[in-house]
């Protein structure tokens, strides 16, 4: 059986080594690349990311990779956004003024609002392990890239902004942080994303990546 192939989009930000190693650990053949042709010919594409939304989008645009990512999505190829990569799948972000995203999943990225929380101070960024829960209205993860994950299993988050998909049907998993409900995983047909870092979430994270590789 041939190994599942994945292209990881390299746009100059983040620790791509961990994403590569985790995918390889799950049995994938990984190409880390900024080359349009290599990305467009891959059967699966990962858009990683760490840092600020506007910087990430600017780096993608500078390399023409925003168009490439949209083309990947429109061809029906599996596309996984991780952390900032997931946020960039949305329409726009409020981080440092309003910035356009890739617009592949309708919605907006907003600052996590501490004021909404109970008396205890809530630390922002949200750093650490939080349990995944089924998004409202969803009964199971079967059929999604989280199919091997069980509700209440914890994954690792590092973020200060949070995605708000406008269609609740695009929300797969959430997590609770204080009184906030954070969108932890999203999906719209072949385009999926996770706010957490599957490559840093131990065995549960590897199950998420395996689920993506099997889609």
């Amino acid at each position: 059986m041939s190994l599942p192939e994945v292209a990881v989009i390299d746009y100059g930000v983040g620790n791509l080594l961990s994403v590569r190693r985790a995918l390889e650990h799950c049995g994938a053949r990984v190409t880390v690349t900024a080359e349009h042709r290599a990305i467009l010919s891959a059967p699966r594409v990962v858009l990683p990311g760490v840092g600020a939304f506007a910087d990430g989008m600017a780096e993608l645009r500078r390399r023409g990779l925003d168009q490439v990512a949209r083309e990947v999505a429109s061809r029906g190829v599996s596309l996984l956004g991780i952390c900032l990569g997931m946020q960039m799948l949305l329409g726009e972000s409020e981080e440092f003024g309003l910035t356009q995203g890739l617009g592949l999943i309708p919605g907006r990225v907003v600052a996590m609002n501490c004021a909404a929380c109970d008396g205890r101070r809530l630390k922002i960024p949200h750093i650490g392990w939080s349990a995944l829960i089924l998004a409202k209205g969803r009964r199971r993860w079967a059929g999604s890239f989280l199919q091997q994950v069980r509700p209440a299993e914890a994954v690792y988050f590092v973020h200060s902004f949070t995605a708000q998909p406008s269609d609740p049907g695009h929300r797969i998993a959430d997590c609770l942080y204080g009184d906030l409900t954070i969108s932890a995983a999203v999906a719209r047909e072949n385009v999926v994303g996770c706010q957490f870092h599957p490559e840093k979430s131990g065995e549960v994270g590897l199950k998420v990546l395996r689920g993506f590789l099997r889609q």
Binding site: N15, H25, S201
Partner: protein
């Protein structure tokens, strides 16, 4: 409720995992990555690698170690020891580190904290503090593995470090380190009361009850342990179960 993170700390000298008492009298334990993999498989929430002679010799030997850890350890990794400039950070992140810890170079040039935070984000900068008690309620920050005095008051230095952009504090009690006598709880409490960024309590964990005590009374966000794991006096699973039994929120985790 936030989960308290359970962190395995690996102090490294050259190719070896080592352990001292009060950060001195270092004994070789074995291969850092064999231990790292074991702690990962036992369910450690994070790993910290510290090169404990890097500042002394002006080098960091952790790059290869971290790079090979990235093969099969899939939890966040912090690397410290001998980090002097933004380029050192770039290099360590490229090798698979998620955060870097700074101490000696940040004391010499506090601006380093801001430089790293601006480039990679605050979540990437851990201010490592080696604290020795001067008198009840007062501690001095040390560098070079507890060898050099700085004259800095720990609480003031923590406050300044956070203002400059440190996203997390690794707080090591030199007095307790390697002694198995439990954490310096007043120190932990003094620091967590002062800053809003996460604080990792380190130094002195001899048994699981020590963790329960420091979490209840000092309210750190994370606890680092070394000796207790290295000498196999306990495992990550046992520590996690003891924390859960005491009603402390930790990640629910089944060993790999």
């Amino acid at each position: 409720m936030r989960n308290v993170r359970l962190i395995a700390r690996l102090d490294v000298k050259g190719p070896n995992l080592i352990k001292g008492i009060h950060l001195e009298g270092l004994r070789v334990i074995g291969s850092p990555n064999e231990h790292a993999l074991r702690y990962y498989q036992q369910g450690a929430d994070e790993l910290i690698y510290m090169d404990c002679v890097a500042s002394l010799y002006g080098r960091n030997s952790l790059r290869e170690i971290v790079q090979s850890a990235a093969q099969d350890v899939f939890v966040p990794v912090t690397v410290g020891g001998g980090v002097r400039c933004v380029e050192d950070v770039t290099e360590l992140l490229r090798c698979g580190a998620d955060k870097v810890a700074v101490n000696t170079a940040a004391v010499a040039r506090p601006q380093l904290i801001s430089d790293i935070a601006r480039r990679f984000g605050s979540q990437c900068v851990v201010l490592s503090i080696e604290a020795k008690q001067l008198s009840p309620g007062r501690w001095e920050a040390y560098t070079d593995n507890g060898r050099q005095r700085t004259g800095l008051d720990v609480i003031e230095w923590v406050r300044r470090g956070v203002e400059l952009g440190a996203g997390e504090i690794l707080l090591t009690s030199v007095d307790r380190e390697g002694t198995r006598r439990g954490f310096d709880i007043p120190l932990v409490r003094a620091v967590t009361a002062e800053v809003s960024v996460p604080v990792i309590a380190s130094g002195g964990m001899g048994k699981a009850e020590d963790l329960v005590e420091v979490v209840r009374q000092g309210e750190p966000d994370a606890v680092a342990m070394a000796d207790i794991l290295h000498y196999q006096r306990s495992t990550m699973q046992e520590v996690r179960r003891a924390a859960q039994a005491a009603g402390i929120a930790v990640r629910a985790c089944e060993p790999a």
